[in-house]
């Protein structure tokens, strides 16, 4: 049996994407709405009449619910992945995460969404399931294996939580790939580059810097550094806080008690931030609940002063990464910019200063869309893992562990056993013994981080070596092997050497779900069943047919319709009639073929409409904004991805 495709997934703080290798180039798979980016937003619909479990929606649909029913929506959940309750207090202040009220210490946080409660991996699993479905719809075949990207600076627990999410979504995660490394893969594919490159990745919620050496198709990471809680979100929060304060001071309205209004304001703040990358001034103009208007201009120089403290937090990790790699900025041949926040001119200036680019007549690489490049790279890695591809057979990624691994020694200090920036898989062997006569257990505390004291590092796990044969104190010799695998996740084995027995290990991860818990959270396990799959494809195909048919029905109202020749108009009519006639059939492929035919027949019409729109009212705006501005009239036949039916 031929194995299915392996897809590459960028599970982002703000947006998520799925991509695959089409021939020798990676491409992003669009969602049903035709967009490549799926907002990492999950919403819970209202309880259906008559009771039952409410359905979960993901992406743009969920984002729309943010303003109407903010208490049923969650975003930026990546910030909570693999973290304990006590660690997320600062996030709780800035984001509308609602912790369940029956939380116990040491438990994986659960977030309240309407009537239900979810752990962060479950929320992420819904996003992953949506991406999986988008890919399945695109291929017309099940997708069960994936590569998922994570911030390079993610620790063990954050990585494990991401893998758990994949499993819950019905995906076998073949590899976790570090985001900056994935971006380097995407860039390194089309030109056989040699040399040293730095990847500066400032995303929605995380910052990474990685330095790689490229040679003969081998991408060898030299060092990595970063901050898993630094990104565009922080800039949004700054703008939001200012607006909230000013609204309170000037209009006496405390919006903080209106979650929906805060979300509307947040959207305005994000729009202003985006506008400021191309415009000298951005405007806030918001109607307040009391009927007043909050109007404010933000000039770019004020914005840059405001965000300077956030941006400058990226400088330290860059310098540390250079120092760990043992090189100077001048030795960096290329810099690649990744993440939506690198569109900000002040960020580009900072990167230029850090790596002395302009002085050396160089410019950072921005040729690939910074929102998509990580997913494209994940698709390249997926292709490498799937094997049997000419394009990638010479490529190999050698990544490193971002944080040192240590064990707590006497006095609470840390004995480092695997240094940060060690190429993974990496291992270390340590020997332990007993301190008391006849002792049969030894407790070991594993931590991750660079600090001297265990209490200042990230606790990974505590475990007991059990079943040590009773001997005099100091006589047993227990060999413990610590191994960080290619996903950056720790595995431990132990053996008592004098008796030759494998010591039993009972590991209690400090953060994270047990295997059983993950098992219990697997989303609709029937998802794999063939008939369900076929049924779902048919439903989706029907929905697509409906969408395009209703758009075509409205077409004659558009001025662009008159620009079409009679022949073109009747071709559209014929394709429409054909689709109408097969719409209620049971065969998804026939339905999709007819949908595709209609989509092709209307392509020029769609172009005409877009052209008219772009050249008049909305010059300088994104297509997305154009879409929103033109509302219903532009619900042009959506671009359909080519399906590959077997």
């Amino acid at each position: 049996m031929a194995e299915g495709r392996v897809v590459g997934i960028d599970l982002g703080t703000t947006n998520s994407l799925v991509a695959y290798m089409q021939g020798d180039a990676p491409v992003v798979i669009p969602g049903v709405d035709g967009h490549n980016l799926v907002p990492s937003v999950v919403a819970l619909d209202s309880v259906p009449p008559g009771g039952g479990r409410p359905t979960v929606t993901v992406g743009n649909t969920a984002r729309k619910a943010l303003i109407e029913t903010p208490e049923r929506v969650i975003y930026s959940v990546k910030r909570l992945m693999g973290r304990g309750i006590e660690e997320i207090q600062s996030e709780l202040k800035l984001f509308p995460f609602r912790l369940a009220d029956d939380m116990e210490a040491g438990e994986v946080p659960r977030i309240t969404l309407g009537e239900l409660k979810f752990t962060p991996p479950e929320i992420s699993a819904y996003i992953l399931r949506q991406l999986k479905r988008n890919a399945e719809r695109f291929f017309g075949a099940p997708v069960t294996q994936a590569v998922i990207t994570v911030p390079a600076y993610f620790n063990d627990a954050q990585r494990q939580a991401t893998k758990d999410a994949g499993r819950m979504a019905g995906l076998e995660v073949l590899r976790l790939v570090n985001e900056p490394t994935a971006a380097a893969l995407a860039y390194g594919l089309d030109r056989a580059k040699e040399g040293t490159i730095a990847v500066y990745d400032l995303g929605g919620g995380t910052f990474d810097i990685s330095i790689l050496k490229l040679r003969d198709g081998i991408f060898e990471v030299q060092s990595t550094n970063g901050d898993t809680h630094l990104g565009g979100d922080d800039i949004d929060n700054l703008l939001l806080a200012i607006a909230l304060d000013e609204i309170y001071a000037e209009h006496g309205v405390d919006l903080r008690s209106h979650p929906g209004a805060v979300q509307a304001l947040r959207k305005a703040a994000i729009d202003a931030k985006i506008a400021l990358s191309t415009e000298p001034v951005a405007k806030f103009d918001i109607e307040l609940p009391n009927g007043d208007r909050y109007q404010r201009e933000i000039p770019r120089d004020v914005f840059e002063l405001l965000i300077e403290p956030v941006l400058s937090r990226t400088a330290g990790p860059c310098k540390q990464a250079l120092s760990d790699a043992g090189i100077t900025p001048e030795q960096i041949d290329e810099v690649v910019l990744v993440g939506g926040s690198t569109r900000i001119p002040a960020v580009r200036q900072l990167v230029d200063d850090l790596f002395h680019l302009a002085a050396r007549g160089k410019k950072p690489h921005v040729e690939l869309n910074p929102d998509e490049v990580v997913a494209l790279g994940a698709a390249v890695q997926a292709d490498i893992l799937a094997g049997a591809s000419k394009t990638t057979e010479e490529m190999l990624l050698l990544d490193v562990t971002p944080l040192s691994l240590g064990i707590e020694a006497l006095g609470g200090t840390v004995a480092r056993i695997i240094q940060r920036n060690s190429t993974i898989p990496a291992s270390a062997t340590e020997h332990f013994t007993t301190g008391v006569e006849g002792q049969t257990n030894v407790a070991i505390h594993v931590v991750q981080g660079e600090r001297e004291l265990a209490a200042d590092c990230r606790s990974l796990a505590r475990f007991d070596l059990r079943g040590i044969p009773p001997m005099s104190a100091g006589l047993p010799r227990i060999e413990v092997k610590f191994l960080i695998d290619a996903d950056g996740i720790l595995k431990v084995t132990a053996r008592e050497q004098r008796s030759g027995q494998a010591a039993k290990i009972e590991v209690k991860p400090t953060y994270g779900l047990t295997d059983e818990q993950v098992e219990g959270m697997i989303l609709d396990s029937f998802d794999h069943a063939e008939e369900d799959f076929a049924k779902r494809l048919l439903i989706e195909a029907r929905n697509e047919a409906e969408t395009i048919l209703s758009a075509v029905d409205r077409a004659p109202q558009s001025p662009a319709w008159a620009q079409m020749t009679g022949e073109e108009q009747s071709a559209i009519a014929a394709a429409r009639d054909r689709l109408q006639s097969v719409k209620l059939g049971e065969d998804a492929k026939t339905l999709r073929d007819a949908t595709l035919a209609l989509d092709q027949a209307t392509r020029r019409f769609a172009e005409l409409m877009m052209e008219a729109a772009v050249t008049t009212a909305i010059r300088g705006k994104t297509m997305n904004a154009a879409d929103e501005e033109l509302g219903e009239a532009v619900t042009a036949p959506h671009p359909m991805a080519a399906a590959e039916f077997k």
Binding site: D156, A386, L396, T413, R416, Q419, S422, T493
Partner: protein
């Protein structure tokens, strides 16, 4: 998070059951990947034990072997193949990391040859490092003085004072100690040559010298680190 993997080593190939030479990465009969071969880090790269090694050759060999055994090559293989690929690659990476760095390589080979080296875990036992028997005699006086100055500096800082003369002295001392690294490294390289070319008697002598040089180097770097931390604080 933590999973247990079985590290039992089969005598014959786990796949085709035909016995084979322990040092092979792939079964000569069925080509399946095998558990990590026994032996030291030098044997991983098919090298003789030596302090001087050709780094470009080492890197080339590291890349060549990585292409063969890396887990990315076995992502869709069976459980056992994935397990051995992981173990083999961990060994390969550990070996490369140790051998490519001159100091790690020196310490590793000295230990292989049975020399006693001061325990060195970065971060562990920092203060306990000042075992008087390990302090190089010619540095004793200056190191003592510098430690006094450092203490003075810390006290002054606590009071919110800044003594420019003290600062200058410390920076001077730091510079001097940093300058001594070059000499130590040069001496080490000379001993490498002696050992690599020598008979067993000259090897023993060289080992002894190298152990002392490493102690000296470690002592220097602790001094420099202490100054850097105090001045930087």
């Amino acid at each position: 998070m933590l999973k247990i993997i079985d590290t039992a080593v089969p005598i014959a190939c786990w796949s085709c059951s035909i016995g084979h030479n322990d040092s092979t990465l792939f079964c000569p009969h069925c080509s399946k990947i095998q558990p990590p071969p026994g032996g030291d880090f030098f044997q991983v790269f098919n090298l003789q034990r030596a302090f001087q090694i050709d780094l470009p050759t080492l890197e080339h060999e590291f890349h060549r072997l990585s292409r063969k055994v890396h887990p990315d090559r076995f992502a869709r293989a069976g459980e056992i193949e994935r397990q051995w690929s992981l173990a083999d690659t961990a060994l390969l990476n550990d070996a490369y990391r140790t051998l490519k760095d001159p100091l790690h390589r020196t310490e590793y080979l000295l230990k292989l040859e049975g020399a006693e080296i001061g325990e060195e875990h970065a971060g562990k036992d920092r203060k306990g490092q000042k075992d008087p028997s390990r302090v190089p005699a010619d540095l004793l006086e200056e190191a003592f003085e510098m430690n006094m100055q450092l203490e003075e500096m810390r006290m002054a800082r606590k009071m919110g004072e800044e003594d420019p003369q003290l600062l200058a002295d410390l920076q001077q001392a730091k510079k001097k100690f940093e300058g001594l690294f070059g000499a130590v490294d040069e001496d080490l390289r000379a001993q490498w040559k002696v050992w690599d070319a020598g008979d067993s008697a000259s090897r023993l002598a060289a080992q002894k010298t190298m152990v002392a040089l490493l102690d000296r180097r470690r002592y220097l770097s602790n001094l420099v680190r202490d100054v850097t931390e105090t001045l930087g604080a």
